[in-house]
Structure formats: structure tokens, C-alpha cells
């Protein structure tokens, strides 16, 4: 296992990039600690696959270095980097048994059969594949095949990093739970550095200790799931994580305090307004908005029943403000007042948190 450092990395697919817009990856420096569970989260086209391919060696960055334990591997091929990868769709040999599929990466490396047997059985036990070992892989359902793919990724104990590229895409929701839990458990047992690429916030937040959020080729925040939820550093993080995402209310700053449509709003801290900032917004998640006797007057536009909670869409003028309300709570009919929890209300200047 290794500590992975990306130093002053930048990448463009254009032959002669001129400005920032030509870069699929903007300049970044990231440290991935040995044994950490990381997620790389962002929408399609945000650059996460480019970043993954740079770590695995499929893409050579235009600028910067990739270091595995301080060793420069930037020029090395994927094979020379000693990594394991699990892809979106199962990559297995249909004609082989489950056992031979799991043993394959070890046999390839010339590991002794005795040691292979021990390891294959260990991994099979972790993934509940014990009973399947003598069976042909072709007969298994999609989730069974993807489990073999996961097993093949995990079977070698000498890899620097295991990378998962949207590994649960083909899995039904009720089985996703099982496999996601399994993966988390495996991380604790195996202790390998794992990088999990996904556009799915639930998968990222439940798998990773640290989540790297990407937007437009740049890293906008690296943090624990709680950081990303409670203190989004950028409006994109607030929007992308959480369902529905963070509410954004246009505001002005007067006497060091945020005002929404003339109403003073108490925030987490006094905003530190950077010089030259032009656009100010108040950000608060639907989880931290409540109905109250006084506060911002709103009318109720729509209520959606999501089972354990209701999503209430309220409006003040043209501004939509969502609330999440627990199942069984009485809801106002037409008009109401709402209050934002100050501890979870932030001010953003040109997209970046300033409280």
C-alpha cells in the first residue's frame, strides 16, 4: 500500500492549451493517505475519470507529477504502477469458475498455489462467495458477477491502490446496500488505499472517510461526509450533495450582516466579504429550515411525500426555499413563516463560503 501524492497536476486534451478553459483538469495538489477510503465525486464531465486515469497511468498529465510513496511514477505504465481496478461492468472470464477468476490475478503474478488457495478462500468468505467457488461465472446474476470483479480487485495484497470506477451502476438498489456495506467492511479488513469514483452522493458519502468533490475540472472541496453536508465550501457542493440540494437565497450585506429581501438573516459567523466580490447568496440546506411563528414569510407551493419525510417547496417572491419535514408532522396549508438555523446558514460570495 502506498501514500499517493498528486503535485501541481494539470491536464489538457488540447495540443496547445491557451487558457484555463482548455484544461480538463485545473491545477491541483492532493494527498491520498495510505490506507484511506476516498471517494471522487462529481457529475459527468467534471474531470473525475481523467483524474482516475492519471493515477492509474492510462493518461499522462500535461503538467505535474504523480508520486507513490514519494517515488515518481508519472512516466510509468499502468502495469508498472501495481494497482487494481474495478470497473462499472463486471470484467470476468465467463468460462472459468469463480475460483479460477479470483485466482487469476495471483497466478498472473506467479504466486504459489498454496498461498493462492488461502487468499482466494479468504476473499470469497468476505464476499459470501464460498459456496459459488466451483461454479462457472457465466451462470451468476449481475450482482454475483460484480462481486467477482470486486474480489479480483481485492485479492492481491501487494497493490499500491485499489480503484473503483462506478462499481455499483449495474446493481439493483436493494442489492447496492449489501455490496456497499460489504465494500466498507472490506476496507476495514484489508486496510488498502481505496479510491471510489462515482456521481452518486449516497455511494460516495457512505463509502468514504474523505470525499473529493469535483466540478468543472477543479477540486471544490475535500472533506468528511459531515463537512460536506454541514459546511459546504462552495455552492456547487451544497447543490450537488443532498437531495434536494442546498437552498440559495440572493442577499445583500449591510453592516456586516446578510439581508434577504430586506430581512436580516443570522448566519454561522459574520461574513468576511472579499474585495471585488459581486454576487452574494445565503446557503442553507432544506434539513435546517423550519416553520416558525415569525421569520421569512412564504407561501407553500408544493408538497411531495418521500415516505419518511415530506419535501415542502415554499416561495418568498421568486425565491424557492425547500424544507424537509419529518413524516407525521402537521404542515401549514397556504402561507407560513420559516426560520433558518443560524448554525447551518452560510454566506457565499461568488460561489465560495465566506462565513
Amino acid at each position: 500500500m502506498a501514500n499517493i501524492r498528486l503535485v501541481d497536476l494539470r491536464h489538457s486534451y488540447a495540443a496547445a492549451p491557451r487558457d484555463d478553459g482548455d484544461y480538463a483538469l485545473k491545477r491541483m495538489t492532493i494527498d491520498w493517505a495510505d490506507g484511506g477510503a476516498y471517494a471522487l465525486l462529481g457529475p459527468s464531465g467534471c474531470g473525475k475519470t481523467t483524474l482516475l486515469n492519471i493515477i492509474s497511468g492510462l493518461v499522462t498529465p500535461s503538467e505535474g507529477k504523480v508520486l507513490f510513496d514519494e517515488r515518481d511514477v508519472t512516466a510509468l505504465s499502468p502495469e508498472q504502477r501495481n494497482i487494481a481496478q474495478v470497473f462499472q461492468f463486471p470484467v470476468i472470464y465467463d468460462t472459468m469458475t469463480v475460483y479460477d477468476n479470483l485466482a487469476f490475478p495471483l497466478r498472473n503474478r506467479g504466486v504459489a498455489e498454496g498461498a493462492i488457495d488461502t487468499r482466494v478462500r479468504e476473499i470469497a468468505a468476505m464476499l459470501d462467495l464460498d459456496a459459488m467457488l466451483p461454479k462457472r461465472a457465466s451462470g451468476l446474476p449481475a450482482d454475483g458477477k460484480q462481486k467477482i470483479s470486486l474480489g479480483r480487485g481485492l485479492v492481491r495484497s501487494d497493490v499500491n491502490v485499489i480503484m473503483f470506477d462506478e462499481p455499483l451502476t449495474v446493481i439493483d438498489p436493494h442489492l447496492k446496500w449489501v455490496l456497499r456495506s460489504k465494500l466498507k467492511e472490506l476496507h476495514q479488513q484489508v486496510g488498502a488505499t481505496m479510491i471510489y469514483v462515482t456521481h452518486d452522493q449516497t455511494e460516495a458519502l457512505t463509502f468514504a472517510d474523505q470525499v473529493v468533490v469535483m466540478h468543472d475540472g477543479a477540486v471544490v472541496q475535500i472533506g468528511t461526509p459531515i463537512d460536506l453536508f454541514e459546511r459546504p465550501q462552495h455552492t456547487f457542493v451544497g447543490h450537488f450533495i443532498g437531495s434536494p440540494g442546498m437552498n440559495l437565497l440572493p442577499c445583500t450585506i449591510e453592516n456586516g450582516m446578510a439581508h434577504f429581501d430586506g430581512i436580516a438573516i443570522e448566519t454561522r459567523a459574520r461574513p468576511k466579504v472579499p474585495a471585488g466580490a459581486s454576487k452574494f447568496e445565503i446557503g442553507v440546506r432544506p434539513e435546517f429550515v423550519r416553520f416558525a411563528d415569525e421569520g421569512i414569510p412564504v407561501r407553500i407551493a408544493k408538497v411531495s411525500d418521500a415516505g419518511r419525510f415530506h419535501i415542502v417547496e415554499s416561495r418568498h417572491g421568486d425565491t424557492a426555499i425547500n424544507l424537509l419535514v419529518a413524516e407525521g408532522t402537521a404542515l401549514p396549508a397556504d402561507t407560513a413563516h420559516i426560520r433558518l438555523d443560524p448554525a447551518h446558514t452560510q454566506v457565499y460570495a461568488d460561489g465560495w463560503a465566506v462565513t
Partner: protein, 374 residues
Amino acid sequence: MLSVFCRIAFQGSEASVGTMSIELKSVAKRVGNETHIHETDLTLNEGGFNILLGTTLAGKTTLMQIMAGLERPTEGRVFFNGKDVTGVSVQKRNVSMVYQQFINYPAMTVYENIASPLRVGRVPAPQIRDRVHRIAEILKLAPMLDRRPSQLSGGQQQRTALARALVKDADLVLLDEPLANLDYKLREELREELPRLFADRHCTVVYATTEPTEALLLGGHTATLHAGRVTQFGETAKVYRRPTDLRTAQVFSDPPINTAPLRKDRGQFILTGDVRWPAEGRYAALPDGSYTLGIRPHHITPAAPAQNAAEIDGRVLISEISGSETTVHFEVEESTWVSLSHGVHPFRVGERARLFIDTGHCFLFDREDRLVAA
């Protein structure tokens, strides 16, 4: 013979003036020795979404293909607005279908893709232009009409497929997991838009999904499917809150509903030796005996509810924190339970955990897995 024919024709024209509907009467589908769809009676009407909820291979797609006329049922009849269409091919039914994979003509522009069903239907050119532009406006495709599908994002490609399905006034629109291949946020956006798109249309909409939350948020009516059987059909929120049987409760729960054997004995429910609670209120009248308890994960929490709580101790297997919610998988005497609670509650794997069952929110099922109390 003639009179029968006239009657059917009359029914058909009468129904088309009224509301749109699709009706399956004793429909079954067998392939060789396998039964893909067991005998099914189901009537879906216009107005709101009709959701088919079930896991992969539950029979959602087969059912839709029978509705579309792409597959012929081995038994039973299919009625369209009251008219028997069982043997009628898909071309002769006025149906639109959208699939999970974005299916567009790669060599055509977005405009031509959207216009294609109208050209097939020989709609006059000026009308085609109007209708394509109108639907493109609604689906935010207006700036992309000259592009080819390969130059679009996944979300835009699926919008194009949706536009093609919407541009002709189909009697029946079948949406087979249309959002499954989209990014999380795009899915949220389109899920919001979809019901609005169909709000003022005169057609029956059927929507297949594997996701309980998606079904709830789309509202309308839901048919839960399991292993080729419709287990329940009704208003979505009612099916969720009052599943008539254990299978429906399982299909309509994500994370999975907790189930365990439960005994009622002289006014008490007994889960295990020391987890017991009084059978009160609507549970009081149940006869003594054996039941299956069903309890949704969000009704097992680390903090005791204000009333009706039974403490349950277990060993933590997995703990997941999503930022706003905590999920704990824990083990009690060999059986696994899941708790989902609001807020952040740190649990360490392997430690003993105290959790509380909200005994006011229990589903109880009898020996035949039928709901007897909720």
C-alpha cells in the same frame, strides 16, 4: 357476429371521448416452462403516473411490452380505452415508449429525431415544425436542435428520447426506467419535470422503476411487482403506508424493511426473550399467536421515541454516515437489523449498541404474510 363487432367498435369510440385507460384481464405470459407473468388483472387510467415498482426481473418490462403490443400474452386480453387490442401490433396502437438506454437515431439531428414519429404518421410539414419546436422548448432542447445525439450529454440524449415520445399524442406512454442511466442530480431534475410534462395531456402514463423513493416522489398510483406477480395496486402513498402483504412491504422499502418472527401472548408482544412490549391500541385486538413483524429502518433509532419504545441491543456490523443521516446495520442473536436515523450518530463496528423500536409503527403479518395491523 356482426352485432358483436358493432358493440366493440361502439365501446371503442365511446371510450376515446372519455378517459384513456389500459386494462389487462387475466393476462399471463409463459415462455416454454417458465412463467414470466402470472395471471394479472390491472386497470391503469389517465391522470397521474401509474408506477410499476419492482426489482430487475420482477416482470416490469414484460408487462410494458404486453401493454405496448410488442409481446402477445399467452393468456388473457388487453383493452385500450375499452377496446380489445390483444392481437393488434404495436404499429397499429397509438403508443410511445422510452427506454433506460437513450435510444435515438445517431445519424439524424435532434430535430429530425423528434420529428420522426410525426413523419411516419404523415403529419403536414408546417405542423411538424410547430410541434417539434414547442416540445423542444419545454424540454430545454431548443438550442440543440441542429446537433446530433452523440454531441449531447446523457441528460440531453434522454430528453431527446422523451421529446420523441411526447411529440405525437400517444394514447399510452410507457417509460421503462427512463432515469436509471442518468447522473443523480439530472435524475432529480427530470423527476421533477416529468409529472408537469404530462399534467395536461390526454394519455395513460406507465412508469417502471426499481426505486421506492422515486415511486413515492412521482406519486400517482403504484403496482408493486414481485416474481411476475402484481402484489398490490393503489395510490402510491397508500401502498407504501398500508402494504397488504409482506412481499409488497419488502418491495416498497429502501433500505430494506426489517422483518422478524414475533409472538403475541396475553397482551404482550415478544420479539426475543427480553425484548417485549404491551400490545396496545389497534394491536390489542389481535389474537395470541405467531406473527411476522415488519418495521421500516427509520422506525428503529438510537434515541428513544417519546412514547411506544422497545429497547433492542445488538452488535454493530456496519455504520454509514451520509452527512445528514446515519445507517446502522446491527446483529441481534444471528439476525441482522437496519436502523436509519436523522443526524450524525457515531457507532463503532463491533461495539454493543442500544436502539429503540418505535412500537407504534409496526406492521404485523399473519402466517400467510397478510397484513393484520399497521
